[in-house]
């Protein structure tokens, strides 16, 4: 069976399959179809979808809904992420599972509101005060929009943090024929699953008080309790101890901030996701993500059809950087070409990793997509 559909629809379906029960958003091209579709579909399964009064409230509502027990998602575009920024920080500090879809468009400010871009790659990673890590996934096809949305929910539950799904106008708006069996379900962990297993933290402190933010070891994840359950739950954006009481006690604050980074960065292997198409003897590695990777894959087929050797790496987990997979792909090649619809944002990451290997970029910021021919020009 086949259908004719787009990325926005696949994201909504992925969210529903992942058990999303709450969505809030504010209209913005090119993310509005997700809001519209959520408002149509979520009530049918008993969930709530709200058009908030603005972006700040939309993400705030999501944080509140998560802390009250919902599984939540919001969707916007780059200018909306600007307004989300403060509350993204709150979700990082409060360790709130939350899926944020950024359907990228071109340029700063209103920019090319209806045109494609991939300029938010560094922005979503560093988009809130303090610079603590988030997880960013980037689908490159409609079926991946579905499966990576599910995966985003899973990782949000596992690590108690905001997870971004980074897409773009073309991925969300372009309609394609898709075979139904191309949609791959991803298991989504239950809330609190991240704190299960050996060394699970006790939720009572030495005085018998409930400790909602007790984590152990430093890269562990605190158990998840909701407002309305039969314990007193506190929630704060300030530096806090395990009971969520505000503190400036240096060792406690130091441990908290290191924990927020460690719980993600020390578990890169659980997050890392790439599609590696490596050919022995290839001297050139093409590297891309999102919609640009589609043109890359077409170019690889054409080049190989013409007898050329070439390797390709599609990055699905942009942050934390999948260093192991990138190092493996770089092994033996002389040059890597990073293609993206910005002026070289992810190329910086590759330059950091690619010792002794030439790093080139294919970059477009004119609202058009990088074509397969642009890739073919750089293969040798």
């Amino acid at each position: 069976m086949r259908e004719f559909t787009d990325g926005s629809t696949a994201i909504v379906r992925g969210a529903l399959a992942a058990g999303c029960t709450f969505f809030a958003g504010y209209p913005i091209t090119p993310a509005s179809p997700i809001l519209m579709t959520m408002m149509r579909e979520l009530p049918k399964v008993g969930g709530v979808a709200i058009q908030a009064e603005d972006e700040i409230s939309a993400v705030g509502m999501c944080i509140g809904a998560t802390m009250a027990g919902a599984r939540t998602m919001t969707a916007t575009s780059g200018p909306g992420i600007s307004l989300y920024s403060e509350n993204i920080g709150l979700a990082v500090m409060g360790e709130v599972p939350l899926v944020v879809v950024d359907v990228q468009r071109l340029g700063p400010a209103t920019g090319g509101a209806t045109t494609v871009g991939q300029g938010d790659v560094q922005f979503v990673r560093w988009g809130t005060a303090g610079g603590y890590p988030v997880i960013v996934l980037a689908p490159s096809s409609i079926p991946e929009c579905y499966s990576l949305t599910m995966r985003a929910f899973d990782l949000a539950e596992r690590f108690r943090c905001p997870v971004f799904l980074l897409t773009d106008k073309e991925l969300n708006y372009t309609m394609n024929t898709v075979e139904l069996d191309e949609y791959q379900d991803v298991p989504v962990r239950e809330r609190g699953a991240g704190s299960e297993g050996p060394g699970m933290p006790k939720t009572q402190d030495s005085m018998g008080l409930f400790a909602p933010y007790r984590y152990h070891p430093p890269d562990g994840v605190p158990p998840m309790v909701h407002f309305g359950q039969d314990v007193v739950l506190r929630f704060t954006g300030s530096t806090h101890d395990e009971r969520a009481f505000i503190t400036k006690h240096p060792p406690t604050v130091d441990a908290l901030n290191r924990h927020l980074a460690a719980k993600i960065e020390e578990h890169r292997d659980e997050i890392e996701l790439v599609t590696a198409d490596l050919e022995p003897g290839a001297r050139t590695l093409l590297l891309s993500y999102g919609v640009t990777a589609r043109a890359m894959r077409e170019a690889v087929q054409k080049a190989r059809g013409g007898g050329q050797k070439v390797s390709a790496l599609t990055i699905h987990s942009l942050w934390p950087t999948p260093e192991t997979a990138i190092e493996t792909a770089l092994d033996g090649v002389e040059r890597v070409v990073v293609a993206e619809l910005n002026l070289g944002q992810y190329r910086r990451e590759i330059e950091r990793i690619a010792h002794g290997c030439e790093v080139l970029g294919i970059n477009r910021v004119d609202g058009e997509l990088i074509s397969p021919d642009q890739f073919l020009e750089v293969i040798r």
Partner: protein, 182 residues
């Protein structure tokens, strides 16, 4: 077979919808298809276009540098896409509104008075279907019956009072073009 087409006109002329109907017909005929909408931030009056690919093979990149066929409904679209059509390709244009004289000798022009015909049929908004009918005949990309069936199957229920007039518009357009010589 891979046909790469561009449909372009003012917002409201229905270029995107015409492309969508053809894309559905392609899918229902067992082909792979992609449909990319492209428009400006204007609420109305801007130009809008869609790129449609219909292929027997899996479609990698959905973008098209040189379309094998184009359907243009207004002068700005004629200006933009006439030079891009592939050598030997087809350009269907709305001769009711387009005053530009064709400039190339290496493509096949199909002038269709789409707005006038649609007016005669009772609603100028159907110019897109007249032009689509002509494009289908001129390119042979799919059968006219497949396109009519796609319209029947995918036009939202709320618009069904316009179904038969649109079918008529497709048929009239199809008669106005010379079939492709195989």
């Amino acid at each position: 077979m891979q046909e790469e087409m561009i449909f372009s006109g003012f917002g409201g002329q229905g270029a995107l919808f015409a492309g969508m109907v053809l894309a559905y017909a392609g899918m229902d005929s067992g082909k792979n298809v992609t449909w990319i909408p492209s428009y400006g931030p204007e609420m109305r009056g801007g130009t809008a276009h869609t790129t449609v690919i219909i292929s027997d093979e899996e479609i990698g990149s959905p973008i098209v540098q040189r379309p094998s066929a184009a359907l243009v409904l207004n002068n700005p679209s004629m200006e933009k896409y006439e030079p891009l059509v592939k050598e030997g390709g087809v350009l269907v244009y709305n001769s009711s509104l387009i005053s530009i004289t064709p400039r190339r000798t290496d493509i096949r022009y199909v002038p269709v008075p789409a707005s006038d015909v649609a007016n005669e049929l009772g609603n100028v908004k159907m110019a897109n279907m007249v032009a689509l009918g002509a494009l289908v005949t001129a390119t042979g990309v799919l059968s006219l019956e497949a396109v009519i069936q796609a319209l029947r199957d995918h036009l939202p229920e709320s618009k069904h009072e316009m179904l038969e007039p649109n079918v008529q518009a497709l048929r009239r357009g199809a008669e106005l073009a010379e079939p492709v010589v195989a």
